[in-house]
């Protein structure tokens, strides 16, 4: 491209109105119209058909979306993940042909869904394999690792999931917040250490979330493009929080008349709480779904580890407030704790009752995006006016980063 082209464009822009003229719109539509014509042409002539003779087998792909167990048997929702129409012919449970009904039907178009009801006498606590056979006899398999009744929304179950959420999210975060008075008395060097520690903690959660998100993403049906969905969610959450943070800062700034450090610290604390809240929401989802899949076993050492692990999240929320030497009322702390912890409860409900792998990936992605944004914010705050690299090279900061990651790693070991 020659250098004079942009100049010409600018010249035309300047001479014309700011908004695109009618001619410009038409010009924008021409490629679209051509594209539509091309698509019609492809559908009409079907060039791929010449590569795919009559006898060529169908591309059959089915994915199990959700499998539930109740007193009537097994209920499985199935998605056609492939390009061609797939017809479900038979259902095998543990290698035995079994009766089933399909709602709305057995013929699934691309991305079509159906729900199979299989009156199979499953055995509590044991494993079962459900196999769907298509009209060509191609089997698609789902393993019920441990058969338990799928929880249905009921008062008691809601209460149990709420309690789980409280213990996983709200209480550990709240305990972490109680460090605030102590943190507020520390020297500024210790403060740098503390913020770096927070970044270390968050980086750990980031690694954890990315791993789980990508893993879950790759397990999704191909059409859902799990990895892309995960990146999209994470990127979206990051940018959204950047925007929200900017907006909050402007609001605070307008209120106090200046954009003081105090309000900056408050905004940062809120953002961290939101980030951790989103992360905990994803965690709640995983927990709820694991319960509904019957994968919960017993072990009390693990509870201890888990509580330790999540207490550090509270610490991360209040660290920027302490560093800014800001006076914080108990009401504010409670609010921060609720933002960070309560989503776990909602996540557990959702995961337990309306388990969906697609939503799981999306929420893991949101958590990751939020955590990344918060870590980024804290590093910015740590650095102040100095170059980030110079600030990070300080001994206290390096030690903090390492300690943060190390604490998470060590407590993570306790929970597996």
């Amino acid at each position: 491209m020659t250098s004079d082209v942009p100049t010409k464009e600018r010249a035309t822009e300047n001479s014309a109105d700011v908004s695109p003229s009618r001619t410009a719109w038409v010009l924008a539509l021409v490629p679209l119209a051509l594209l539509a014509a091309l698509l019609l042409g492809i559908v009409w002539s079907d060039p791929a058909q010449s590569l795919r003779p009559e006898s060529y087998p169908l591309v059959e792909r089915l994915a199990f979306q959700r499998v539930m167990l109740d007193e009537t048997g097994i209920v499985a929702s199935i998605l056609n993940d492939g390009p061609d129409v797939v017809t479900i012919a038979q259902v095998l449970v543990d290698d035995a042909y079994w009766m089933f009904s399909a709602d709305p039907g057995t013929e699934l178009k691309h991305l079509g869904r159906t729900t199979l009801r299989i009156p199979y006498p499953w055995v509590e606590g044991e494993a079962h394999i459900v196999k769907v056979l298509t009209s060509t006899g191609t089997p698609f398999e789902y393993e019920i690792a441990v058969a338990v009744s799928t929880p249905k929304p009921s008062g008691r179950f809601l209460a149990v999931f709420t309690l789980i959420g409280l213990y996983v999210g709200v209480i550990p975060v709240a305990i972490g917040l109680l460090w605030f008075p102590f943190l507020a008395r520390l020297s500024s060097r210790s403060m740098d250490f503390l913020l770096a520690l927070t970044v270390g903690l968050l980086l750990f959660l980031l690694v954890d979330g990315v791993q789980e998100g990508l893993e879950s993403g790759s397990a999704l049906p191909d059409a859902m493009q799990g990895t892309a969905l995960f990146v999209l969610g994470a990127f979206g959450a990051f940018l959204l929080l950047e925007g929200v943070g900017g907006w909050l800062r402007r609001q605070k700034g307008a209120g106090t008349g200046d954009g003081s450090g105090d309000s900056g610290a408050w905004v940062l604390a809120v953002l961290i709480a939101v980030g951790i809240g989103l992360h905990n929401f994803g965690e709640g989802l995983a927990i709820g779904s694991a319960f509904s899949l019957g994968e919960a076993a017993l072990g009390s050492l693990l509870i201890v580890g888990f509580t330790l692990h999540n207490t550090t999240e509270g610490l991360a929320i209040v660290a920027p407030l302490a560093r800014a030497r800001q006076r914080v009322g108990i009401g504010h702390l409670v609010r921060l704790g609720l933002i960070g912890g309560v989503p776990t409860i909602a996540g557990a409900w959702l995961g337990g009752f309306v388990y969906s792998p697609v939503w799981a990936v999306l929420f893991l992605a949101l958590g990751v995006g939020a955590i990344a944004q918060v870590a980024f914010q804290i590093v910015r705050q740590l650095a102040g006016d100095r170059p980030v690299v110079r600030q990070l090279a300080q001994g206290s900061v390096l030690a903090g980063l390492l300690a943060g990651f190390g604490v998470m790693y060590a407590t993570g070991m306790l929970v597996g």
């Binding site: 499998v67 167990l69 007193e71 009537t72 048997g73 017809t87 012919a89 038979q90 095998l92 290698d95 035995a96 042909y97 009766m99 009156p119 199979y120 006498p121 499953w122 055995v123 509590e124 056979l133 298509t134 009209s135 060509t136 006899g137 191609t138 089997p139 690792a145 338990v148 009744s149 799928t150 929880p151 179950f157 209460a159 149990v160 789980i164 213990y167 996983v168 954890d208 789980e212 893993e215 879950s216 993403g217 397990a219 995983a286 927990i287 319960f291 994968e295 919960a296 076993a297 017993l298 072990g299 009390s300 050492l301 693990l302 509870i303 388990y355 792998p357 799981a360 993570g412 597996g416």
Partner: protein
């Protein structure tokens, strides 16, 4: 794992399980409650859903048909003729064609089979000891095939040796004497062997004893070929059956008469599994292994046959009613190899 729940996150959950358990003192999580009342164990719930069309191939008609006896005379003459020979034996001439064809092996499930004359198992060939058997084989399929008969014959008629493949569009005439009397089989012996066999190229070959050898008493005679289909070609079968169609005789019981001798020509051609078996409920039967003797080799209610092995089974139904029969490998039974006899008073 459907949700990609990592070891870490689910161990976490594991910890929570005990936590929640403690919190809801005494009351257990609904999901972890003792054995509830799962779906009914009603036997009608098992088995494939729906019915297979019998327009092209009727398993019930197959049972009692040999030498194309199920066809109207004019049509039958195109595939089978018999000509008396001076020594009193017959020249039996058959037209067998290999044809690629999609067959319905369980309701709604279609298998891209290679067939003899469009059906699996192929037409039952039945001759008397000493008869001349002449098979005009035409390969109308897409791959080279052969017909390999069990029985006495010169190697040139074996259909298994290198160079004996009959290529698509070509023909070959197999000719030999029916010998010895007994229950035999025929199948394609082109390579890869497993594929050519399990795709459906096989059938039963019955040789009745000549009068000088003795005779079997009159009976209601049934041909049963135990076979199976690997629908996704992973060397494991998805459908097991007698005479191809899963649960065919569970849906349409085989009607027999109380007190009348029933003779079953039982052939095992199941690929990928070392053995198959027949278990007949509520009775015992006589077994003539390979059918080469007129004296029963054993009396049992469960008979095991290796692939290619066969036996003549003679049973008399003592009581009226339904008699279940199936492979006594429960797995095969639940994958389609199960049926009923319905015994009725005369």
């Amino acid at each position: 794992m459907p949700w990609g729940i990592t070891r870490r996150s689910w161990l976490r959950v594991a910890g929570l399980g005990s936590l929640a358990g403690g919190l809801v003192s005494g009351s257990k999580l609904a999901g972890q409650q003792g054995v509830s009342h799962p779906a009914s164990h009603d036997g009608h719930l098992a088995g494939p859903v729906g019915r297979v069309s019998t327009a092209d191939y009727d398993p019930t008609a197959f049972l009692r048909s040999w030498n194309f006896s199920h066809l109207p005379p004019a049509e039958r003459a195109q595939f089978y003729t018999e000509t008396p020979r001076p020594d009193g034996t017959l020249l039996r001439e058959y037209e067998l064609h290999s044809v690629d064809r999609e067959i319905e092996i369980a309701p709604g499930m279609f298998f891209p089979a290679w067939t003899f004359n469009g059906q699996v198992p192929g037409p039952t060939i039945r001759a008397t000891e000493g008869d001349r058997v002449r098979i005009r084989f035409k390969n109308l399929g897409s791959h080279p095939h052969t017909i390999h008969f069990h029985g006495w014959h010169p190697p040139a008629m074996d259909g298994s040796l290198p160079g004996q493949e009959v290529h698509p569009g070509e023909s070959f005439v197999y000719e030999f004497d029916a010998d010895p009397f007994g229950l035999h089989l025929y199948h394609c012996h082109a390579i890869p062997l497993k594929r050519h066999v399990h795709k459906g190229l096989y059938g039963a070959f019955i040789v009745d004893p000549r009068p000088t050898s003795g005779s079997r008493p009159p009976a209601d005679e049934l041909v049963m070929v135990m076979n199976a289909f690997d629908t996704n070609f992973d060397a494991e079968n998805e459908v097991y059956a007698v005479n191809t169609v899963a649960n065919a005789y569970a849906n349409d019981p085989i009607r027999v008469t109380v007190g009348q001798l029933v003779r079953i020509y039982l052939v095992n051609i199941t690929e990928f599994d070392p053995v198959n078996s027949l278990h007949l409920h509520s009775m015992f039967f006589d077994v003539y292994r390979t059918g080469t003797s007129l004296t029963p080799s054993e009396k049992t209610d469960t008979l095991m046959l290796c692939q290619g092995e066969r036996a003549i089974v003679e049973a008399v139904f003592r009581y009226p009613g339904d008699f279940m029969f199936h492979a006594h490998q429960s797995e095969f039974a639940e994958l389609g190899w199960m049926g009923f006899f319905k015994a009725e008073e005369k």
